[in-house]
């Protein structure tokens, strides 16, 4: 279950980049945070990464990346030929090879032209190694527009009955074409150990997807999101390293899927006994 999934290595020059949609069905499981951190981690590896916020009407990816004050134009401006793509792409503050195409905040999801969205993603694949598309919650038109240009999917699931059910549905809708891979988010190892939370194994016994990695429910994710500085900008700490390991696996490296469950937390307990500093 924990074997890495083989993938082509990121593409220099002429070859098309990979378009990956980050989706979940259910809202609030951490799609946007995951997209921001995975995009940052891939860019920290030197890859050229474009992030698209496809959540038209509820734009958030710019906030998580700390780019909200730099967004002038958005996805619909580009799709409707009001501005060029280059005018709308916002360079990241922290990672040189990362750009964001923000969603429109005051528009609606059904205003997106599906075929133009497909063409836009295709165009970005010619210029970037990775195009990550942050999908809105739900399985309606917003979902369809978010997946139309993608050729792969990452599904984000929390260890909850409702989230697993929705991921199951979304994976059914995606079909095999997208080769969906799983990130389990917000796991609390201490609760799993006490039998109060579904474990990674429980979740994936049902979903049976290739596991990219597991992210623990850590305060430092909230803190870095508050600041608009994705945790994956750091290169130390278990959770930051988990994002880097996931990025390495996405890039095709043969590293183990990160999981906080195994090392439940003697460290955490010691940390709290001695008042250890966490973020």
């Amino acid at each position: 279950m924990h074997q890495p999934v083989p993938h082509e290595v990121a593409t220099p020059a002429a070859k098309l980049g990979r378009a990956i949609v980050v989706t979940s069905g259910k809202g609030g499981v951490g799609k946007t945070t995951t997209t921001a951190n995975l995009g940052t981690a891939l860019a920290q590896r030197g890859a050229r990464v474009a992030l698209i916020d496809a959540d038209v009407g509820l734009r958030n990816l710019d906030i998580v990346l700390g780019l909200e004050s730099r967004v002038k134009y958005h996805l619909l401006d580009v799709l409707e030929d009001k501005v060029s793509l280059d005018e709308a792409l916002v360079p990241d503050k922290h990672s040189e090879t990362l750009v964001l195409l923000a969603a429109a905040q005051s528009r609606e999801k059904d205003e997106v032209d599906t075929e133009k969205m497909r063409a836009l993603v295709q165009g970005l694949r010619e210029r970037f190694d990775y195009v990550l598309i942050d999908c809105p919650a739900g399985i309606e038109l917003g979902f369809k527009n978010a997946i139309v240009g993608a050729d792969e999917a990452i599904v984000v699931c929390t260890p909850e009955v409702s989230a697993v059910r929705d991921v199951d549905r979304v994976v059914g809708l995606l079909g095999n074409r997208f080769k969906p891979q799983l990130i389990i988010n917000r796991l609390r190892p201490a609760l799993v150990k006490k039998g109060k939370m579904l474990s990674v194994e429980d979740v994936n016994a049902i979903l049976r997807l290739p596991l990219l990695g597991v992210i623990a429910d850590e305060p430092e994710i909230i803190i870095t999101t508050n600041r608009g500085e994705p945790l994956a900008l750091r290169h130390e700490g278990e959770t930051a390293n988990a994002y880097h390991a996931i990025a390495a696996r996405v890039a095709g490296e043969n590293v183990p899927a990160p999981s906080p469950e195994l090392k439940e937390s003697l460290m955490g307990k010691l940390g709290s006994i001695f008042g250890g500093k966490r973020a």
């Binding site: 059910r165 549905r169 039998g195 109060k196």
Partner: protein, 116 residues
Amino acid sequence: MIDWVKKMFGGPTSSSTAKERLRLVLMTDHLALAPDIIENMKRDLIDVISRYVEVDRDKVEVNFEREDRALAMLANIPIVSVNRPSPPPQPPAQSGPPSRRRRRKKPPAQSPATAH
């Protein structure tokens, strides 16, 4: 502490409750997503029962319900007549001697179904 005691005495943890609920809800979801499979199953079921008794095809109802820890298939199959002329019009592929015909009238028939 109470949780620990419960655990010691074999009470279910909330994660095992979650697992069980998830298993059942997904079975129901998958069945609901596969209406053509249900229709085929219903047709085959009627075909089999029709070898032995005459049923009212139009009034057959097949439903799935959650019963405690399993999903149950409930079939309500009205039987019009048990006095079929022998031999039956659609004998099974490998039909045995006519004396082996069995009669069943047990609506609703119940059997557990599994999915996924």
